[in-house]
Amino acid sequence: MSDRLVIQSVTKFFGSAQNPVRAVDDLSLNVRENEFFTLLGPSGCGKTTLLRLIAGLESCDTGKILLDGVDIAGLPANKRPVNTVFQSYALFPHMTVADNIGFGMSMQGKDAKDIEKATADALALMRMENFGARYPSELSGGQQQRVALARALVNRPKILLLDESLSALDYKLRKDMQIELKRLQRETEITFIFVTHDQEEALSMSDRIAVMERGRIGQLGTPQEIYHRPVSRYVADFIGICNFVAAPSLGLSESGHIGFRPEDATLLIREGQQPDVAGPIVHGKLDALSYHGAVTYYQVTLDSGETVTVADHEKLPVGVDARVRVALLPDMLIRCAS
């Protein structure tokens, strides 16, 4: 697969001339054709700024933005073949759903007949055939979301940018939309760049994820790489729960910290019980346990004084304050810079 978008050493300053803040700091990355690419990070990490730079809603101070090999960094937003689904949807309240969807094509001077047909197709794609004459204020949040998607997709952009697009929806609707987004991306074969702070969402939807940290990329990789081979403690902590303990506490003859995920450890509650896979075993005391249905979390204070969390599918017959052992899967240990 070839690169659709290449970002080369892009920097964006905000704030005053005396006290500039680097919202995006000498950042480079590439997004492939037909890829679901996610920018993941906490608020203030620069992910939305990067998205706005790609959209042309901000101009970068240095660097290049190559779209299919052509530098678009100097083009205004309306000259870039990319479209955005805004966090607040930004549907035009004084236009009907159909007029909203047709807006982009109409601004490009497309033929009225073509606009009508494309709008109808877009509504069909969103399964909203009967909503064309409605106004945005008459739609539910989920419907508005779909109209915003249709309004952007109908222009067949080279890249679709989605800015925290699901964050306003409630949990169940968000899950449905995640599936819907994946379907749309598959069917339209358009490159999606998706901005979110929700790591679960990022893991479940993305082909690749760029975890951002203070205007830079902390790690870029597939969800599996990011989850199981985080390159830094920042990335590991941001994606799910990760335990970090000093290597000597695990009986390992190395320095630094070793990380492991709660599900990559087994709680041994009986004397002499052996784990399925041989690996480091540490002793400790059960502090607390919390039952989450499919999984139960056990919080254990190791004899070294460090606290770790272990997950098990079963609710084990063990009480708080019991002496336990934690067995780690040796292949799943995370060694990264702190």
Partner: protein
């Protein structure tokens, strides 16, 4: 149970009396405009006759025409200028000192006593020897119409999310198309409301017009004033009642239009 401390004894009474105080003269003028007698304040029966008479009075007709020309012209020009200023002051790009100066100039016409604006404008027109009849009045009105038109427009702009024009530009609209198809329609209630307020302010203005208007360019309030000085007649009351009713209608219209929310 303790009495609700929000209810201060007597405050309700003061409020209702105050309201009566504010409206008593309005009702008095309207009531006496229907008096059939010439003696204005002696009630002699109900009559409509003063309304056709007021409408048929040539002085009042000419003055009304002048009032409407000035009000429409000052409203249009004043609102366009106010709209441009509101857009400029809301967006970035205007240097801070210019902004401060603009806000001050926006507030001053509302704060400086009208008589001062009236005499200084009159003296200014005399100094530059500007003698364009009704145009002089129009210019003076544009100045004080701008702040009145500005306030509702500015309030409206503040309610429109920045993402609206961004979305338009993302969807291939250039600067002008984004304004024309998105920002302007969303601003319309504010513009209407501001224009209406500018319109009644111009229509109601008396002192500035009195000082600035050359002979033959007097407006309805100035005509009413000169007639009142010679003695109040039911005919004047009828003309005044129509002006009052028109103003009240426009204020209410402005409120209704402005009540509609953006999103």
């Amino acid at each position: 149970m303790k009495a609700n401390p929000k209810n201060m004894p007597g405050f309700g009474l003061v409020t209702w009396l105050g309201l009566a105080f504010l409206y008593l003269p309005i009702f008095a003028v309207i009531a006496f405009s229907f008096n059939s007698g010439r003696l204005v304040t002696v009630w002699e029966g109900f009559s409509f006759e003063w309304y056709p008479r007021a409408l048929g009075n040539h002085d009042l007709q000419r003055a009304t025409m002048n009032s409407l020309i000035v009000a429409v012209g000052a409203t249009f020009i004043g609102t366009v200028i106010a709209l441009a200023a509101a857009l400029a002051l809301h967006g970035g790009g205007v240097p801070k000192p210019v902004k401060t100066a603009s806000y001050t100039m926006m507030a001053l016409p509302l704060l400086v006593p009208e008589i001062v604006i009236a005499v200084t404008t009159m003296a200014f027109f005399a100094a530059i020897n500007l003698r364009l009849g009704l145009i002089n009045v129009l210019i003076a009105h544009i100045v004080f119409c701008i702040p009145f038109a500005y306030a509702p427009i500015r309030a409206r702009i503040a309610t429109i999310p920045k993402s609206m024009s961004e979305a338009a530009k993302d969807l291939y609209a250039d600067e002008w198309q984004a304004f024309r198809h998105v920002t302007l329609p969303l601003l319309t209630p504010g513009i209407f409301s501001g224009a209406l307020l500018a319109f009644i302010t111009s229509l109601d203005d008396f002192i500035i017009t009195l000082m600035v208007a050359p002979p033959g360019a007097s407006t309805l309030p100035v005509e009413i004033y000169s007639k009142v000085k010679r003695g109040i007649t039911p005919e004047i009351n009828a003309a005044a009642s129509m002006l009052l009713a028109f103003s009240i209608f426009i204020v209410l219209l402005s409120y209704i239009i402005n009540r509609k929310k953006v999103i």
